[in-house]
């Protein structure tokens, strides 16, 4: 009897030890699940970035949940999405904020709760330490301004469409442009804050062209605004190249406009590679290999009609057959 008890006890201990080890293995083998939150998924910029997020998640074996706030004005919706993910116990969040100030309270909650967070491009102005991978909005604005000022030889009227006013990146791009242009007293800048949609761009540029038939250039925040601006210029009867258009990225048919001479230059960055890097940073933070604060900035470059065919697109374009 005593012998049986001893044998049973030893077996039970062995079983329990085995269970502990295998349970530990299950914990390690559990998939990492991250949430990617963008403010305006239909903007071709974020559509392209989605490709980057997906591919890097596939490569790292990470499960991705994608959330679109549906517009820069939908701050409450994005806040709700973030809170839902915290409730779900998500492993990490990549966030492109709808509003720099409006998302601060919920972002603070995320950081205080210890949920790994990477802010991607569209900043939330939290003072708590976090990981950031950002465009340099000031530099983007300056690049546009520098090109236009050079083309106009320091004298002319420019319409600036910086996009939605609540977005930190738009504010920075606006500042960069205006601060550069003010060094050239002959350059007059008209600013129109609009939603990032083609019909808003078209209607606004049409009206401004009527009031300012001597308009020399238009600088646009996003591909939809650029398309709208080009359409308005075409409709106004202006000759190709008589109004300089400088955009950002080469999505939504912009490449054709550049080939045809309606779009003169665009500020590029490797936004798909940026998305991939955001995923890598977040996974490292989840695994404890990276700690906030960290601020990474990506490069920007100007592409014009002359170098359209020759620049490296690997970090900024996705295969045509991918359409998700």
């Amino acid at each position: 009897m005593k012998k049986r008890i001893v044998v049973m006890t030893v077996l039970a201990c062995l079983f329990a030890t085995g269970l502990i080890f295998t349970a530990g293995n299950w914990a390690i083998a559990k998939d990492i699940e991250i949430a990617v939150m963008v403010p305006n998924g239909v903007d071709p910029y974020f559509t392209a970035k989605r490709y980057g997020y997906e591919k890097e998640c596939e490569k790292l074996g990470v499960k991705m949940l994608f959330f679109d706030a549906g517009g820069y004005s939908n701050v409450n919706k994005q806040i709700g999405q973030i809170e839902d993910m915290m409730q779900r116990g998500i492993d990490g969040i990549i966030l492109g904020a709808t509003s720099a100030e409006g998302t601060v309270p919920v972002v603070n909650k995320v950081i205080e709760k210890g949920v790994p967070l990477v802010i991607d491009n569209l900043d939330s102005r939290t003072k708590l330490p976090t990981l950031r991978i950002m465009k340099n909005g000031i530099l983007v604005g300056q690049l546009r301004a520098a090109y236009i000022v050079e083309q106009l030889q320091g004298k002319g009227k420019v319409l600036l469409l910086p996009g939605p006013s609540a977005v930190a990146l738009c504010q920075e791009e606006h500042k960069g442009f205006v601060d550069y242009a003010k060094h050239f007293p002959g350059i007059k800048v008209i600013t129109e804050w609009t939603p990032s949609s083609p019909d808003a761009g078209m209607t606004t540029v049409e009206g401004i062209l009527q009031a300012n038939p001597d308009l020399n250039a238009v600088a646009c925040f996003s591909p939809p605004l650029t398309v709208g601006a080009v359409k308005a210029i075409q409709a106004s009867g202006c000759k190709k190249g008589s109004v300089i258009v400088v955009g950002q990225m080469l999505d939504a048919g912009m490449e054709k406009y550049m080939e045809d001479g309606w779009l003169q230059a665009t500020v590029m960055c490797d936004h798909i590679e940026m998305a991939r890097e955001a995923v890598r940073m977040l996974v490292k933070e989840i695994k404890g290999e990276l700690s906030p604060p960290l601020y990474c900035e990506i490069d920007h470059y100007l592409v014009t009609q002359n170098d359209l065919k020759n620049f490296d697109r690997t970090g900024s374009s996705y295969p045509k057959e991918w359409r998700k």
């Binding site: 804050w193 609009t194 949609s197 209607t203 049409e206 009527q210 939809p224 398309v227 409709a235 106004s236």
Partner: protein, 328 residues
């Protein structure tokens, strides 16, 4: 007769003249003309031929969407799905053009948008779901469908031939008149005839005034509801078609912001939110006022922030006036 008596007589004549004016009928057209004069005085470029052409082009598109909303309001309902239907129609049109060509693809895309209205009508008429809820649900369904289908991708890359054919509808001219204006006028006349000269049109007004009496009179009310919401979505899809044609791209959120303008335009023009009162002429007035107001503010150099506030204030004022008129 002394000078005081002459002045008194002139003042009382003026007051009687003002009282004799039918403000309900002529108030908004007079305000519209005053607005045009004011904007022209601020910046003469406002009244240039090119600006008028461009603004009427945009106004024609808005008129179609407002007309659709008008039908819903006349039937004492509302259609909250118009903005999403516009986005869905835009995507459907370009997607269909890829396989069917410009003309057939456009028709298929427009009809697909119209189907959303048919579903709305069936939900309201046969399942008894209130219009505000049914169309709110369709708002999200249409938005979801277009995003799932496209993944948020803007649809471009039309062939040169298709693009040329399509562009004529949105950006082309018929003589000196923009193409959308021509189509909007024809469609507007047909809708006017439908509402004012047919029995079905009278049924819509009767239903909007008193749904129960309409039912008790043996008029098929379900048919009215289904037709009204189908028309609303079809007209929104037509508006999306001309906008898509002009942009030569399918943009998933194309209708963003248009719902507010549609409701505001319909009410501003004189369509009652309480049903049974209004029409296509009111829709045209409302659409033109909003289009020219927006354009006038841009040309006058008013900032985009202030423009939003002005247009919002005008719409609120119009809604208030509509409610007060309805109560009196």
């Amino acid at each position: 007769m002394n000078a005081d008596n002459v002045v008194q007589e002139k003042v009382s004549f003026n007051i009687k003249f003002i009282e004799r004016i039918d403000w309900e009928k002529y108030g908004l057209p007079m305000a519209f003309i005053c607005m045009l004069i004011v904007f022209t005085l601020i910046n003469p470029a406002f009244f240039s031929f090119r600006n008028m052409i461009q603004t009427t082009r945009q106004g024609a598109i808005l008129f179609l969407v407002v007309s659709g909303q008008t039908f819903a309001l006349l039937a004492r309902g509302i259609d909250l799905s118009q903005g999403s239907v516009m986005g869905l129609a835009s995507i459907a049109i370009i997607s269909s053009i890829y396989t069917l060509g410009a003309y057939a693809g456009s028709i298929v895309g427009i009809l697909m948008g119209g189907c959303c209205g048919l579903i709305n009508g069936v939900l309201i008429a046969f399942l008894g779901i209130p219009p505000i809820l049914a169309t709110l649900g369709m708002l999200f369904i249409a938005l979801g469908v277009e995003l799932v289908y496209t993944g948020g991708v803007t649809l471009t890359n039309l062939s040169d031939i298709d693009q040329a054919h399509l562009f004529w509808f949105g950006g082309g001219m018929v003589g000196p008149i923009p193409t959308p204006v021509v189509f909007a006028l024809i469609i507007g006349l047909l809708l006017y005839f439908l509402l004012k000269r047919t029995a079905f049109g009278r049924e819509i007004y009767l239903f909007g005034s008193n749904a129960e009496a309409t039912y008790m009179a043996g008029i098929p009310t379900k048919r009215i509801i289904v037709t009204v919401y189908t028309l609303s979505a079809l007209l929104a899809s037509l508006g999306a078609f001309f906008l898509t044609a002009r942009l030569s791209m399918g943009f998933p959120h194309l209708g963003e912001g248009w719902l507010v303008l549609a409701i505001g335009g319909a009410v501003l023009g004189g369509n009652s939110v309480l049903g049974g009162k209004g029409g296509i002429w009111q829709a045209l007035l409302g659409a033109m006022v909003i289009s020219f107001l927006d354009n006038g503010l841009i040309v006058s150099g008013v900032s985009s922030f202030a423009r939003e506030a002005v247009i919002g204030a005008v719409i609120i004022f119009a809604c208030l006036a509509s409610v007060i008129r309805g109560r009196s």
